[in-house]
């Protein structure tokens, strides 16, 4: 919420977050004929889907449950999606999308992309496709949009084209403002066409709405517990090994923001790990070094380099995928050449982030200013 002096603050009211979320969902049902809940198998989307399904049941209506299947996900995620889609079948429109699209593989430069559900590779798919899933692109191919043709048809392209194939639809999403400043901005920045601030306008009169945007971590778990809803087993595994609250999350397994999941995967789901090793290169490397400060996290400079610039040049010289190398070269040539920027560039190279999903803070090295300050003081 924005206060009078334009600061972002949480303001407590007399209404609890559950009552507020139910009111929001009810408002969405009053206003929109077509409602689709985007689900990922995580706790937040599970709660959002449950709230929407409960309202749909009360009104005798149907809502779409949309899951864009990345193929390389936890088995527990798949089971959670099956559970949600079969919870109230008479009120559910199954929208389980299993189509080909490219995903970044942060663990290998040899095989820098995974084509999910790639035709001809069904023998090594992580699992067979669901019998009642959508297996062909449900939109007009002539109108298909691709953000970047060099990168190919990716995850966000699939999402965008799916949304654009619909009209006047409310897409419900389980993001919460408290998770990060970016999410807070997305949730509470502007008033959208639905007349509320907890939403974002999309094309064709569509709108993405966030009915649990003001929930806390504990509110989500309380709802799950009180309503006896099933949740992904991964949370239990993470609980058992004593991970901190900020580390407990269900995510994809291989992209540049989620590869750390590979470190624990063999313990949680050995069969999923086995299948993943057969499916894709670099998985064992990700398992070994996913949380290593000198390797995949790029937090510490490896011993055999004196500066991050040296390390960056080495990584660029030895980058294996000649097709993607110019993307990095072009990008880096427009950026400053200092150790602060070079460390971030190293991270992009190590994690194969040709898509620029880990954007670089292109500024003068703040370390140098502090060094100068201390030189004068001391």
């Amino acid at each position: 919420m924005i206060s009078k002096n334009n600061n972002a603050v949480q303001i407590y009211t007399d209404k609890d977050v559950l009552a507020a979320a139910r009111e929001r969902v009810s408002y969405i049902f009053d206003r929109y004929e077509n409602i689709v809940v985007s689900i990922s198998g995580g706790k937040d989307s599970t709660v959002t889907a449950h709230l929407a399904l409960t309202e749909a049941r009360k009104r005798g209506r149907r809502v779409g449950l949309f899951f864009l299947d990345e193929e390389v996900v936890y088995q527990s995620t798949v089971e959670q999606i099956r559970y949600l889609m079969s919870l109230y079948p008479e009120n559910t429109i199954k929208l389980w999308l299993q189509i080909e699209f490219a995903l970044t593989n942060a663990t290998s430069t040899e095989e820098g992309q995974l084509i999910c559900w790639e035709a001809g590779k069904h023998k090594i798919w992580m699992r067979p496709k669901e019998p009642d899933s959508i297996q062909h692109k449900p939109w007009d191919r002539n109108k298909e949009t691709v953000r970047d043709k060099n990168k190919g048809f990716g995850f966000y392209d699939a999402l965008e084209n799916f949304e654009n194939s619909r009209n006047s639809t409310a897409f419900l999403c389980g993001i919460r403002a408290i998770e990060s400043m970016n999410r807070w901005r997305a949730c509470a920045r502007n008033i959208c066409t639905a007349g509320v601030h907890w939403g974002t306008d999309r094309k064709n009169g569509n709108v993405t709405l966030y009915p649990i945007y003001d929930w806390n971590f504990t509110d989500v778990w309380r709802y799950i517990s009180e309503n006896k809803i099933r949740y992904s087993k991964i949370y239990d595994y993470q609980y058992q090994i004593g991970l901190g609250l900020n580390e407990i999350r269900v995510s994809s397994l291989i992209h540049e923001k989620s590869f750390k999941a590979l470190v624990e995967l063999p313990r949680f789901e050995p069969k999923t790990y086995d299948r993943l090793c057969k499916r894709l290169k670099g998985i064992r490397w990700g398992n070994e070094y996913g949380k290593n400060a000198k390797v995949m996290r790029c937090r510490k400079l490896p011993d055999n380099f004196a500066t991050w610039i040296q390390y960056r040049d080495f990584l660029l010289q030895t980058y294996q995928d000649e097709g993607k190398k110019p993307i990095f070269e072009r990008r880096f040539s427009r950026q400053l050449n200092n150790n602060y920027v070079a460390r971030q560039q190293c991270r992009q190279l190590v994690l194969n982030d040709y898509e620029n999903n880990l954007p670089i803070d292109n500024q003068e090295d703040p370390l140098l200013k502090r060094v100068e300050y201390w030189r004068n003081v001391l």
Partner: protein
Amino acid sequence: MIYLGRTHAQKQAIISEVCDDAHHAVIFHGAKTAEPYDVACPVEYRGWGDVIMYKHFYRLLEEITPTTAIILDEIMRTQNRNDLTYNCLLHYIRKAGRCTVFQYFPIIDDIENFCILADMETCGRARGHSFVALGDIAVDAIRRDYQVVDLPVAITDVDRETYLAKKDAIFSQSIKDPESLPRQVALVAGNIKAKAIDRYHAYVARNARFKAENIAVYGKAPTNAIILDPPANAITMHDHLAGQETTPAIRYMNTGLPVDVYYSNFYRGIADSMRIVYDLQKQ
């Protein structure tokens, strides 16, 4: 209530009173090992690292009720008011509805640090407010103003040249963390001061490099020891000074070299900020 400047014995008396009508007590402590208290009801001790652990978090949220006594014993260990550990503590406190806060010094090195204690005492209602906008906070303070006393150490021109040469060497290395520079340079000054050490006083140094019986490291040195090297951070200095009936002065060996002037002023600045906190809370 926030109790400032209490010794272990004084805390014991307050805890006994607070726990009188409690059915269960949870004591969160900032020290590495818990210093046990004599409590009538069942008591659980949890260290700083335990606070965020999932295995304790949900269990404690279930177990803590309005009849639980929550005691925060020297829990201010980081200056980040929004640190996850503080957030988790607030969840526990909100379940209990109140808590008792003990902190020997009211701040770490900035006046705003006091807001961390205020957040706890008010069950989070003080969040978002800076120190000047805190309003009424229930504080019972025993003032622990410390003095910084400079003990001058005479140095020669050769010492000054050595200092400059070694400082330049430190600055010419590959620097990963600039905030470590004063700490590194202070060790150079510490080596220069070593010639002024006598056998009749106790000293405290950052590490065991002097290998002398009367020079101990922080955590093992007596609280009135003369400061040869400043510690790595203000929390360590406060741990060194805290818990005493009378707060000893910081007796700092000062060569007049810039690094010693910096550290001497740094601790004077903290002492001044503490005075502001004490004075404003008194009003």
